[in-house]
């Protein structure tokens, strides 16, 4: 187990080092997410934002920008066929999945640190009403989205129509997660907040994540063996 985690961290660090040099993913996802928010702000904010709009807009921006990052993170492994080299390493193949997932999570977390305050600013969202609960929803939502996305992006890495297939597979599978995220966040942002309801959605996300990560770790080795 320790060896698996060590290998996963080695792979994640490698991805982050490459990203720190190119800044390709962070700029792409960040600019896309911010552009999304601005478009929604111009569309939905007049004198005051539409009720519950902030929660939905936040999660849409995160899901779309996350999809961009997902496609590119495995595109890098396609160049030079380095994914094969990772699969040849004497570690559980789940470590490769875990490493890619950790790197993607850290990247999405960096994007969220910019995007969430902008949502608060543009849509007057009360970010500090229940900050721990909001952070929990975002963290668990991101883990679930990235966990499913990493598995599908890896499976599709050799498919010629992967750019089309990834969203087609990803969005239906992540719909329950996005709904839970939106509902939980809306319960916090509402004029009459319902923190118990938000906690229930948080618990649902936790359950969803546990199932998704377990299944992904279980099947990754099999689906990556040609």
């Amino acid at each position: 187990m320790t060896r698996t985690l060590q290998a996963a961290w080695t792979i994640a660090r490698k991805d982050l080092r490459i990203e720190a040099r190119s800044r390709e993913l962070v700029y792409t996802t960040l600019f896309f997410a911010v552009a999304c928010l601005l478009v929604f702000a111009f569309a939905f904010v007049r004198e005051r934002p539409i009720d519950n709009a902030a929660a939905g807009i936040l999660w849409v921006a995160l899901a779309f920008s996350g999809t961009l990052a997902l496609g590119r993170t495995f595109e890098r492994e396609r160049q030079g066929e380095t994914l094969r080299a990772l699969l040849l390493a004497p570690v559980e193949r789940g470590a490769v999945y875990l490493g890619k997932l950790i790197a993607l999570l850290l990247l999405m977390a960096a994007v969220e640190m910019v995007v969430v305050p902008i949502v608060g600013l543009l849509f007057s969202a009360p970010l500090l009403r229940a900050p721990a609960l909001l952070a929990g929803l975002l963290a668990l939502g991101t883990v679930g989205f990235a966990a499913i996305g990493t598995l599908f992006a890896a499976m599709l890495v050799r498919a010629s129509s992967r750019d089309v297939l990834l969203p087609i597979l990803l969005y239906p599978m992540t719909a329950p997660l996005l709904i839970a995220g939106v509902q939980g966040t809306a319960a916090i942002f509402a004029d009459e907040p319902n923190l118990v309801l938000a906690q229930n959605w948080l618990a649902m996300l936790l359950f969803f994540d546990a199932v998704v990560v377990t299944v992904a770790l279980w099947v990754f080795g099999a689906v990556m063996t040609e």
């Binding site: 490698k14 080092r17 094969r84 040849l88 004497p90």
Partner: protein
């Protein structure tokens, strides 16, 4: 055969046995009941026309693909019995070089060294850079190297963990005469240390003085290239003619 980084560990394998291995992709048959034995200290060339199944055979030996039928034993064990650790005894140089262009030569080697849990990593990386004759460009990005330099780096990446089974797909591609001679010397060194080297190549002249024996794949079927005094290219053509009747 003893000593050196490729010396046999107590639980290591000293032969690879391929038994009646077939592999199909949909309706296309890439390998048809291929059987082959490779022993420690032996360099085997896999020859054949494009699309004959050479890369498929190497992919199966590397455990990247499963055979549709038949089995491969690494010593007494199959890949499933040996587990993930078996991959630590296999080194692969693919046609694609398995290098990260954004990382430096040293970073590439360090990354793979960590994945393979190589001991005394800094010293091994320095030795690998020296063997690739890239010590003075260790901190340059691999993406900035010519094909030949990347090929040399990729070979050392494949050998960094001192594998028992070395699988090379077109290792002479992009190498100048000096580098090709250097690679030939490196292969002889591996042989001396007891590695099992299986090499797919079209470079008959360079391979001729290096390999112990050659096999020929044609349309997924294996045939031995006869040993003899003649040039490898002639013996290969003869094997191909006989295979095609």
């Amino acid at each position: 055969m003893s000593g050196g980084p490729h010396a046999l560990a107590p639980d290591d394998f000293d032969r690879v046995s391929v038994r009646d291995v077939s592999r199909t992709f949909g309706r296309r048959r890439a390998l048809a009941r291929v059987s082959l034995d490779c022993r420690a200290g032996e360099i085997v060339a896999v020859l054949g026309p494009n699309g004959a199944g050479k890369s498929t055979l190497l992919g199966i030996l590397a455990t990247l693909m499963r055979p549709s039928d038949g089995e491969i034993r690494y010593g007494a064990r199959t890949a499933a019995e040996a587990g993930d650790g078996l991959r630590g005894r296999i080194g692969v140089l693919g046609h694609d070089l398995f290098l990260y262009g954004e990382l430096t030569a040293r970073e590439n080697l360090r990354f793979f060294g960590r994945l393979y849990d190589v001991s005394d990593l800094d010293a091994r990386v320095d030795a690998a850079l020296a063997a690739a004759r890239l010590s003075d460009r260790a901190d340059d990005r691999a993406g900035a190297f010519s094909r030949g330099l990347r090929q040399r780096l990729a070979l050392e990446r494949a050998l960094l963990h001192a594998p028992r089974l070395v699988l090379l797909d077109e290792p002479f591609t992009g190498l100048d005469d000096d580098s090709a001679a250097h690679l030939s010397a490196r292969l002889r060194e591996l042989k001396l240390h007891g590695a099992i080297v299986v090499m797919a190549t079209h470079d008959f002249e360079t391979a001729d003085g290096v390999v112990d024996r050659a096999i020929c794949l044609d349309n997924g079927k294996l045939r031995d290239v006869p040993a003899g005094a003649g040039p490898l290219r002639e013996r290969y053509r003869q094997a191909l003619r006989e295979a095609r009747g």
